[in-house]
């Protein structure tokens, strides 16, 4: 048995034929075993025959355009593994060796077959569109759109594009030395994903206060959203960078550690600073909830302030203690000095 991979320059994807019965005829007419409807092919173009010694022979049936091997026209050609012959404009790759056959037997090609590179470029296009949309949304939520604002949006889109492409290009140039491979698309995928993640975060982080007014709920919700997002993101990144050598268990652990670290620092940074800084996000102007007088009365403020007062009294005694200590230290130092 042999496998023929038939490719024409104008086709999107090659045709693949398993040939199990011999002789096998190739031509434009429908009486042939393999029908190739192309103008460069004659009605009865060629014939594959199995010879006594086990080799396969491709014989020209006096066709107009003939059969070629390595650019030269022959009457008959002995087929080799991975050999390429040409019938008219059509290229035929033949596969003979057994283990290759084993492997190829497994493949079931879908009707619309896409290569990996094609898939990648499609994703990149999708992500670029998402990024543009996010940039627009961020800007739109801030100010009414007018000509100046549009210029702002365009500038930020261009800046984002330049950064993303630039970083990807740099990364691919630097890694080329080591990997001996120029993987621009791979890095572009990674940088674009980072950019999208960043845009989603900034949108989410800056605006959560607008629609959620309970601190505890806010914290739980944010932590879970961040966790889910970082989880997805870190796994995707690992997949991209460790492409072939992706070891699931180790990388899952690594990814979890990374996510835990990010979540921890974020939580600490956001929720501990709230009590030491005077910069709070947002008044819930477009909140839909109302705040009844009974629940949100001065009692709440009063009890909060009472807590603050006790805090301050504590700070005060701390400060006095510090002062005392430094004074004692000064005294002891001045005593030690010889007069």
């Amino acid at each position: 048995m042999i496998i023929l991979r038939i490719q024409h320059p104008s086709w999107n994807s090659p045709q693949v034929h398993k040939v199990t019965t011999f002789p096998c005829s190739i031509g434009r007419s429908i009486q042939n075993t393999i029908v190739l409807s192309d103008n460069s092919i004659s009605a009865e173009h060629a014939m594959i025959e199995k010879q006594m010694d086990g080799t396969f022979l491709l014989r020209d049936l006096d066709s107009t355009n003939g059969i070629f091997f390595e650019g030269k026209r022959f009457g008959q050609i002995i087929l080799r593994d991975q050999g390429q012959v040409k019938c008219g404009d059509i290229e035929i790759t033949t596969m003979l060796s057994d283990d290759r056959l084993e492997k190829t037997r497994q493949i079931e090609l879908p009707a619309e077959f896409k290569t990996k590179a094609q898939k990648l470029s499609q994703r990149i296009l999708l992500m670029s569109l998402t990024l543009v949309l996010l940039i627009y949304t961020i800007n739109f939520l801030m100010d009414p759109m007018d000509s100046e604002k549009w210029i702002d949006v365009l500038v930020s889109i261009v800046a984002a594009g330049v950064t993303v492409f630039g970083v990807a290009g740099l990364a691919s140039i630097i890694t080329k030395v080591q990997h001996k491979k120029y993987d621009f698309l791979k890095y572009l995928d990674a940088t674009l994903m980072t950019a999208v993640a960043w845009a989603v975060f900034s949108l989410f982080r800056d605006r959560i206060d607008f629609w959620m007014n309970n601190n505890v709920l806010q914290m739980i919700f944010s932590v879970s959203v961040y966790f889910a997002f970082y989880w997805f993101y870190s796994n995707k990144m690992l997949e991209i960078f460790f492409e072939g050598k992706y070891r699931k268990r180790i990388h899952t652990v690594l990814g979890s550690l990374f996510v835990a670290f990010v979540i921890f620092t974020w939580t600490v940074a956001t929720f501990s600073e709230r009590n030491t800084r005077f910069n709070y996000k947002a008044s819930y102007v477009y909140t839909t909830s109302s705040f009844p007088e009974g629940k949100y009365n001065f009692g709440g403020l009063e009890s909060q302030m009472k807590e603050s007062f006790t805090d301050i009294d504590e700070f005060r005694s701390q400060k006095i203690e510090e002062k005392e200590e430094s004074r004692q230290l000064e005294d002891s130092l001045s005593k030690e000095k010889p007069e």
């Binding site: 739109f140 939520l141 009590n275 008044s283 819930y284 477009y286 909140t287 001065f298 805090d311």
Partner: protein, 435 residues
């Protein structure tokens, strides 16, 4: 020819007349200078009589027999605030140096009564009646540590803001003249130089001398100088007094109900000063109006503490072309306003006299059913327990097109005072009824 002669003679006459007047004036001031100068001395705080000074000002004699002198509290505050007894107060003339002790002081009126062991022949007389507006007055002191100087200006009445009272004058007073006497043409004391208004021309203030008289009386009643240990309590009492007086002043002089934008609120004390501004934003996407009211005057306690004062700001925002998201974003940026923050962050810096801040946030609904989001930061004085400082800000919730932001700054109030002040201001806010 005749005409010219007449003109000329007139000219000569006029010049002569002017010169005469000038000489008289100079002669007059010369006498005044000679009359007042013997009772005006430099007051400095330093570690010893010879060592260079930590702070300095001027003082004047009010009782020659006992050697009583009046000066500003802020001139001797280095000594009063010093807990380690490093500094002493000295009264100096060119050759003589006397050590002085503090008998009494008032942070409200920025006055201190000190005593030196020297007997003077006479003293500066105190004027009982207030001068008439526009009357020529003089200030004496040692500007920038140069020489005792006499400067001239006019009396422009007394400015009362809450508990604080100051004489407004047009005398070019400089640093170093603090604590010097403000006298009338006859050399009678009407006040003690205290401060100037920054970024202005010749706007200066002095403390009415009645306050000095009160200080002397209270000392005479007690018959003993204020003990050193009592200084902190004395200041605390005065802070309490300031707070009490401020609240009575707020109750007695309620400002008219004010309104900006779509909001109405009770204006603070009439004696405070208010500024307001209405404008459109750069691209006319929203309209804003702001009213800023503050008390003119604060009690100087330490170089890092000005206490017993408050400031209230109302800012109304109205959306013109912004949708609710864009409006919310803008309210947000105003709530965390950059200029206000800059102003605050300079005060957020660490100080030995102030504790750390304790901040919190939340939502509150006032009696007019208006909901606010608020945030506040509180801290206190290390020495004067029971007195606190607060920055408070709140923004109204729930309206798509209108918002009001309130910012309050209160210095030196007690726990209860803070709460009362907040409640008063927040409950006073309501939405203007639809026209």
């Amino acid at each position: 020819m005749k005409l010219i002669c007449v003109l000329l003679s007139f000219f000569v006459f006029s010049v002569m007349a002017q010169e005469e007047a000038k000489i008289e004036e100079v002669k007059d001031n010369d006498i005044l200078y000679k009359k007042v100068k013997p009772f005006v001395y430099q007051v400095k705080t330093s570690q010893s009589a010879e060592s260079s000074k930590a702070s300095y000002g001027t003082g004047f004699v009010v009782d020659g027999e006992e050697g009583l002198m009046l000066t500003n509290y802020h001139v001797v505050s280095t000594y009063i605030q010093d807990e380690d007894d490093r500094y002493k107060i000295f009264v100096t003339d060119k050759d003589e140096v006397y050590e002085a002790k503090v008998l009494d002081f008032s942070v409200i009126f920025d006055l201190a009564l000190i005593q030196i062991e020297k007997k003077f022949k006479g003293e500066l007389r105190i004027r009982d009646k207030a001068p008439g507006r526009g009357e020529t007055i003089y200030s004496m002191g040692l500007p920038k540590d140069l020489n005792i100087s006499l400067v001239e200006g006019n009396y422009n009445g007394v400015i009362k803001s809450g508990i604080y009272e100051r004489i407004l004058m047009s005398t070019p007073v400089n640093s170093g003249m603090s604590g010097g006497p403000t006298v009338d043409k006859w050399g009678r004391v009407i006040g003690a130089n205290v401060s100037i208004l920054l970024n202005s021309q010749n706007i200066s203030f002095s403390v009415p001398i009645d306050k000095g008289k009160d200080l002397i009386e209270s000392y005479r009643k007690r018959k003993a100088p204020l003990p050193r240990k009592e200084y902190v309590n004395h200041i605390k009492q005065q802070l309490k007094q300031i707070e009490k007086e401020l609240f009575t002043s707020i109750d007695e002089n309620p400002g008219k109900s004010n309104s900006i934008g779509a909001w109405q609120f009770s204006a603070p004390d009439k004696t405070g000063k208010c500024w307001s501004k209405n404008d459109y934003s750069e691209k006319r996407t929203f309209k804003y109006s702001r009213q800023n009211c503050f008390l003119q005057g604060a009690a100087y306690i330490d170089s890092s503490i000005y206490s017993g004062s408050y400031e209230v700001m109302y800012l109304s925002l109205e959306s013109l072309t912004r949708n609710r998201f864009q409006f919310a974003d803008m309210v947000d940026s105003f709530f965390n306003g950059k200029d206000y923050l800059k102003n605050i962050y300079t005060r957020f810096s660490e100080s030995n006299e102030l504790t750390k801040f304790s901040c919190n946030e939340g939502i509150i609904t006032n009696k007019n059913k208006l909901s606010f989001r608020y945030a506040y930061c509180l801290n206190g004085y290390v020495k004067y327990d029971g007195h606190y400082r607060m920055y408070f800000k709140a923004a109204t919730l729930g309206d798509k097109r209108n918002a009001l932001i309130v910012k309050l700054k209160v210095d030196g109030f007690s726990k209860e005072g803070m709460m009362t002040f907040l409640k008063k201001h927040l409950d006073g806010i309501q939405k203007k009824e639809a026209m």
